[in-house]
């Protein structure tokens, strides 16, 4: 490239800028004129948010539960009949001991179990407090959490009734245990997850496909045989998708705040800055795929299988990383979406600042730099 700047056809910066803008404008024309691309670009995030937002946090009705009643006394019976009377639950069976609970869970129909200890009533009467154990199947964390909350509410209701004519307050202490997914990692985590997913899809796949398309059409040949710097071709492909992706981030956030009532607790500016970093990471991956592939189908397949799947599986968004085998846990570290997911969750849900996520940011930035170097090394200024 060095001799280029001295060549007779060398273009000054002004012309380069004009070329660049023309190219970016052309890229926008491609996107805006293709309905399918537009639909993927803007329809998909909306759809994903709505699917995850509504389908997964659906209200629970008539859920089957198992009751193990070691107490068999007045209080336990009353509480059970209250629970049964609610429209949320249906006692499917009463098990003799808690060993049967896990069996029922494995059958899949029962999502929650309630265990009354022996002396439930007498504990409550004499010590003014009694324990009750709630066990949920947390493989579907949203449902598990909802169910546990409902049961707790009913118990508190009962407790309040008891306390109405009592001198000393009675306390029933529910001890909730989430089976299979103890920390309920993904509750409300789907918005950061969807953001990671959508950005991955838009940036990686769209960039890769749009560069490879030029190779397929033969226009790349003409662009290479022109004074336009090959690197600028790639760069001007990336800019439109960076802008479109930021629009996507904004629209996802709007949906989650206004439609799903999930507020952004932390700094909006920080969130956008981190998103930009992640978008650049994805764009670099897309460019890398495009320099190594020759057909749109292959680029698409690699983007989907090689990028989407790991994002869904290993980012911690669908499946909690803590529960994975050690080997897979290690693998998750190389998935950029995992770090972005942690960052967004920290900012959006926990409301934390940069000091809490600088490590993740650094990892993500390091990945981007690495990918950028690899892409540039692989980038060819000729056809083969």
């Amino acid at each position: 490239m060095k001799c280029f700047t001295n060549s007779p056809g060398a273009l000054n910066a002004e012309i380069s800028m004009k070329q660049f803008i023309t190219f970016v404008r052309k890229e926008f024309a491609h996107v805006l004129r293709d309905r399918k691309t537009l639909l993927i670009l803007f329809g998909m995030p909306v759809m994903q948010i709505l699917i995850f937002g509504f389908a997964l946090t659906n209200e629970v009705k008539n859920s089957a539960i198992v009751v193990v009643d070691y107490a068999q006394d007045e209080a336990s019976q009353k509480l059970i009949s209250r629970i049964e009377a609610s429209r949320y639950f249906e006692v499917s069976k009463s098990a003799a001991d808690h060993n049967q609970i896990e069996e029922s869970f494995k059958e899949g129909k029962v999502k929650l179990a309630l265990i009354f200890p022996q002396n439930f009533y007498s504990d409550l009467m004499h010590q003014n407090k009694a324990q009750i154990q709630i066990i949920t199947d947390a493989t579907d964390p949203n449902t598990a959490n909802t169910l546990a909350n409902y049961v707790t509410a009913i118990i508190q209701d009962y407790q309040a009734d008891l306390n109405q004519n009592a001198s000393l307050p009675y306390r029933i202490i529910p001890e909730t245990k989430m089976l299979y997914n103890p920390q309920l990692k993904s509750v409300h985590g789907f918005v950061p997850g969807v953001m990671a997913l959508v950005l991955m899809l838009v940036c990686v796949m769209m960039t890769a496909v749009s560069i490879v398309r030029e190779k397929e059409m033969g226009t790349m040949e003409i662009l290479l045989v022109s004074p336009f710097k090959p690197l600028l071709v790639i760069l001007s492909k990336a800019v439109p998708y960076l802008i479109l992706s930021l629009i996507n981030v904004a629209s996802i956030l709007c949906l989650s705040v206004f439609v799903l009532d999930l507020p952004v607790n932390g700094s909006l500016l920080l969130l956008f800055a981190e998103s930009t970093l992640f978008i650049i990471t994805c764009l670099t991956i897309g460019i890398f795929i495009s320099v190594r592939t020759a057909s749109q189908q292959v680029a698409m397949l690699i983007s989907l299988m090689g990028m989407m799947l790991p994002t869904i599986l290993f980012s911690g968004f669908m499946f909690p990383i803590e529960n994975m085998p050690k080997v897979l846990q290690v693998i998750t570290n190389i998935v950029p979406a995992k770090w972005y997911y942690i960052i967004v969750k920290s900012i959006m849900i926990k409301g934390l600042g940069f000091s809490a996520i600088w490590k993740e940011t650094l990892i993500l930035a390091g990945m981007t730099l690495f990918l950028l170097i690899v892409s540039l090394k692989n980038f060819k200024i000729r056809l083969a």
Partner: protein, 303 residues
């Protein structure tokens, strides 16, 4: 200085070392209309891609406008015009958008070099708001040529611009090339259609990566070694079969409505005619003719 100069240029592909371009040497003068004539797979596209700096040669060297195709690729990229085999336009951009896009990419504007493309652009200007994907084959070809010309290239490389285009559009296209040549642009064009060869100043006949002959079309035709006859009969297939088994005929093949035949020795036309009549052929016609480029190509291939 030559506009294009190839010196033992060689290109080898793949693990099995297929030689696509085999020690090709040729020169193109400034302002010349040079044709690379040969069938698919002859190596035409590989030569063009090497000259336009898209491929690195595996042997030999070449210069375009005096610049080395390997060392000086940025110079070449900013001066040549190239129209690849496939029509390389953006189908979702309009005619005008395509043109102005390529103008900008080459650091110029439509207005600056409008005089160069005017003749051609006028023919498609009424469709300038139509998307390029919706144009006919001939129109696309014209637009692609405009895009390759817009930066006033010194050398224009056209890789099979007329393949798959109907005869009328082909004729128009060659007339455009003639006018461009008059404006001093060096043009190197490839084609599988032998009849287009006569429209070039000089041609290189090429097959399987090797040059068979480089000459003006007239000289190639004049150098045809044998006396050639055109023979016709009612039943063409029977005629061809009869002649191919005729021991005095050296070579024969169908050529349009005639069969072209060369003989081992000088013949008496009447003797041949009566031989054919004896074999049951009717409507026989026999006349000496001048060879065409296609005859020459066939002759060179059969050697």
């Amino acid at each position: 200085m030559y506009a294009v100069k190839l010196n033992n240029l060689t290109k080898v592909y793949g693990k099995d070392k297929t030689v696509a371009v085999d020690n090709v040497s040729l020169t193109v003068e400034k302002g010349e209309l040079f044709g690379l004539i040969g069938p698919d797979g002859a190596g035409k596209t590989s030569i063009f891609r090497m000259l336009t700096t898209l491929l690195l040669p595996d042997g030999g060297s070449a210069t375009v406008d005096g610049y080395d195709i390997v060392k000086d690729y940025p110079y070449i990229r900013s001066t040549v015009g190239y129209m690849p085999g496939k029509f390389s336009l953006y189908p979702d951009l309009t005619v005008e958008e395509n043109l102005s896009f390529f103008a900008t990419v080459f650091g110029t504007t439509i207005e600056e070099n409008y005089h160069l493309i005017k003749d051609i652009y006028i023919q498609i200007e009424k469709f300038k708001h139509r998307r390029a994907g919706k144009l006919s084959g001939g129109m696309k070809q014209k637009l692609a040529l405009c895009c390759a010309l817009i930066h006033k290239p010194t050398v224009l490389f056209l890789d099979e611009p007329t393949t798959g285009v109907d005869p009328v559009s082909r004729k128009e296209f060659w007339e455009m090339l003639k006018r461009l040549k008059e404006q001093g642009i060096t043009i190197m064009v490839s084609t599988p259609y032998m009849d287009e060869a006569t429209l070039c100043d000089r041609i290189a006949l090429i097959d399987q990566g090797k040059i068979l002959s480089i000459e003006t079309p007239e000289n190639i035709i004049d150098s045809y070694p044998d006396k050639l006859y055109a023979v016709k009969a009612e039943n063409m297939y029977a005629l061809l079969k009869t002649i191919s088994s005729y021991d005095r005929a050296a070579d024969s093949y169908a050529f349009g409505e005639y069969a072209h035949v060369s003989f081992r020795e000088a013949i008496n036309e009447d003797v041949v005619k009566s031989y054919l009549q004896e074999k049951g052929l009717t409507g026989i016609e026999l006349k000496p003719i001048h060879a065409t480029i296609e005859d020459c190509f066939i002759n060179l291939l059969r050697k």
